[in-house]
Symmetry: C2
Subunit: 383 residues, 2 copies
């Protein structure tokens, strides 16, 4: 398959690029280093210094003999994006190219404006570049479980059959996200669904939970192939953040009551899911939606699991509730369905104590890089 990865320098984009190239696909990966730039600007650099995308692709090729084509540029520039769609003629595009930080998206007007503009315009440019140059191309879009928020009813996979006053129809499952970043993904879904049903696009939207982990078959070859690993309040997802706090001897920062439940996913399973989505493409005029998670935990349960994993390594991990910088329900119902990808063949890698302990050992190798000032929340969900 000929596959373009948008946002190929990201935490998921880079492992995906390697995985697909290793499997023999022809891969072009595109990025503008937006996350690296924001990380510098907000003093939120990751634990590890990652070589840039072109260097990583060269290292990967030297180790595996597999080529990853790289293009550096801004996808808000339509002619840049369209040029690549036109010349590469992809069978599929995997679209990760969004500003992914919830706290950043609410830091102030400039950050909010950038997040809205970047995420919507890139998605919209992709839609038109596909419509005009390769309308049969399958778009695999990364959404987020955060689009749904925490409704008081079971979360179905993307859609909901509604019976109202004796009549029936099927709609997108209602969405009500908890940050502007997550809201831009709701807007993406609305946009994609409009173009799917009106202009016959083929789209799969993966509603992904927070991802954790570092180890993939390819990154295990050489530490220079590792994905970025953020533990700060801006880009750090909660599991990665807690692991670094545990190693640094900082109490795990639980926001508020810690009863927030989310659906989690191992990085290895993200790769499986992308692969399954690519091999089971949406039809013309079809929007396929999967809930991409393998298990759910409260934040308190997560913290306790990491405490347990610490114990196996002789590390004493403390847990401390801090004032919640976010406006969110701290105790709520949460029951998301997630059988679609399992039915396609997903074999989950669960978050066992061993998995957590192995990640913790990995973080210990980079302990000297930990900067404790990056750990505490700097952005509040209110003006």
């Amino acid at each position: 398959m000929k596959i373009i990865i948008l946002g190929g320098d990201g935490y998921l984009g880079w492992p995906t690029s390697m995985d697909l190239a290793a499997k023999g696909h022809e891969v072009l990966t595109i990025d503008n280093y937006s996350r690296r730039t924001i990380a510098m600007q907000s003093s939120s650099e990751g634990l590890i210094q990652n070589p840039n995308l072109e260097d990583r692709a060269r290292i990967f090729e030297s180790l595996t003999g597999k080529k990853i084509q790289v293009a550096i540029g801004d996808l808000k520039n339509f002619s840049f994006l369209e040029g690549h769609i036109k010349s590469f003629q992809p069978d599929a595009v995997v679209h990760y190219a969004e500003q992914p930080s919830a706290p950043y998206s609410l830091k102030g007007y400039e950050e909010a404006h950038y997040t809205l503009k970047n995420n919507l315009e890139v998605t919209h440019n992709l839609i038109w570049a596909i419509l005009k140059n390769k309308p049969e191309c399958h778009i695999v879009k990364l959404g987020t479980m955060g689009e749904y928020g925490t409704p008081n009813i079971d979360i179905e996979e993307g859609w909901l059959d509604i019976e109202h006053k004796g009549r029936k129809d099927k709609f997108l499952f209602p969405r009500a996200a908890g940050s502007l970043y997550h809201t831009t993904k709701v807007l993406d879904t609305d946009l994609l669904w409009f173009y799917v049903r009106t202009f016959d696009l083929r789209v799969t939207d993966l509603m992904q939970g927070p991802v954790y982990g570092l180890s993939t078959k390819e990154s295990d070859l050489d530490d220079r192939l590792l994905p970025n690993f953020h533990y700060d309040d801006i880009f750090g997802t909660v599991v990665n953040r807690f692991l670094v706090q545990a190693v640094a001897g900082v109490p795990l920062t639980v926001y508020g009551k810690g009863g927030q439940i989310r659906g989690y996913l191992n990085l290895k399973d993200t790769l499986q899911c992308i692969d399954l989505a690519l091999h089971n493409p949406a039809d013309k005029r079809e929007l396929k939606i999967y809930n991409q998670l393998t298990e759910t935990f409260t934040v308190n349960e997560l913290a306790e699991n990491i405490q347990k994993a610490g114990k196996t390594l002789g590390i004493d991990v403390a847990i401390k509730s801090i004032e919640n910088p976010r406006r969110e329900a701290e105790e709520h119902y949460y029951n998301p369905k997630h059988t679609g990808l399992i039915d396609l063949g997903l074999e989950p890698n669960y978050m066992t104590t061993e998995v957590l302990a192995n990640m913790m050992k990995f973080v210990m190798n980079y302990k000297d890089n930990i900067d404790e000032t990056k750990i505490f929340p700097r952005v509040k969900w209110s003006k």
Copy 2:
């Protein structure tokens, strides 16, 4: 009240500006002539030459003694918008400032990109200008009934109580619009609802049906105070378009089967609704939603009503179905609830044969201005 009107040069923005100024409110009206520019560029000028916004405000003041402050500028420029919010300190902002043409929004990439960017960025800039400078200000946003599309269940006013597998929650009524323009209003609703529940904004979203009419108390003073009146395929709403076709002796162009049902509204009722919304503001952290229409017709019924009105004036009106340039259901269920504004005191002006005949007489005064090349659809809903 101190009120800012965004999009004050528009079909609704200008009559609203006059109406509120006439009632003694302090009014600042802002526009960047985006619609006039697009109308020129797409050869879609209206039936009547309207003086520019500053000239109209001067004429209005000379006739009534009431002042309308005018600012010309682009609301995508945050510092321009914020400057006015900061210095004027409005109690309410009425937000009409969007690219409002469905066909234009799908003409090509540039037009689609402009519509998405303009509509979303202006709404988002307004949100932040209010949050930072006058958080208690009430935003009255013009949405559209088109956000809902044509679902197979009754359309409630903005919200839907859902019972699913024995549990209950309340959500935004599902939306699935028929054009990119209408989809940008869906995105606006999502954005506003996020900021309302997370940052305590006060918003009323008016889901308005197609508006018809010209005559308002103020425009009756002088033809130079008339709102713009489009009859072309880009900006002309269906009733206004049919009236001009009737006068020009062109068969009324029904798209496809003509069974499309929409909810209509007299321009005078739009003014009433805005007034009611302003006097019944949303609370902090409340998104009030009203369905703003007074009666529903199929396109065929509309055409027949205009035929009848023609007969009373001795005009023989023909009706002709043409190939539907849009992708839409031509026969469908449609039952929108619209009691919220009635409960607040709305007294509807219905679309009687007399009302239609009076509009037709008005159009006859400008018969020489009619350009028949503007009447037929130039944009198709497919690539």
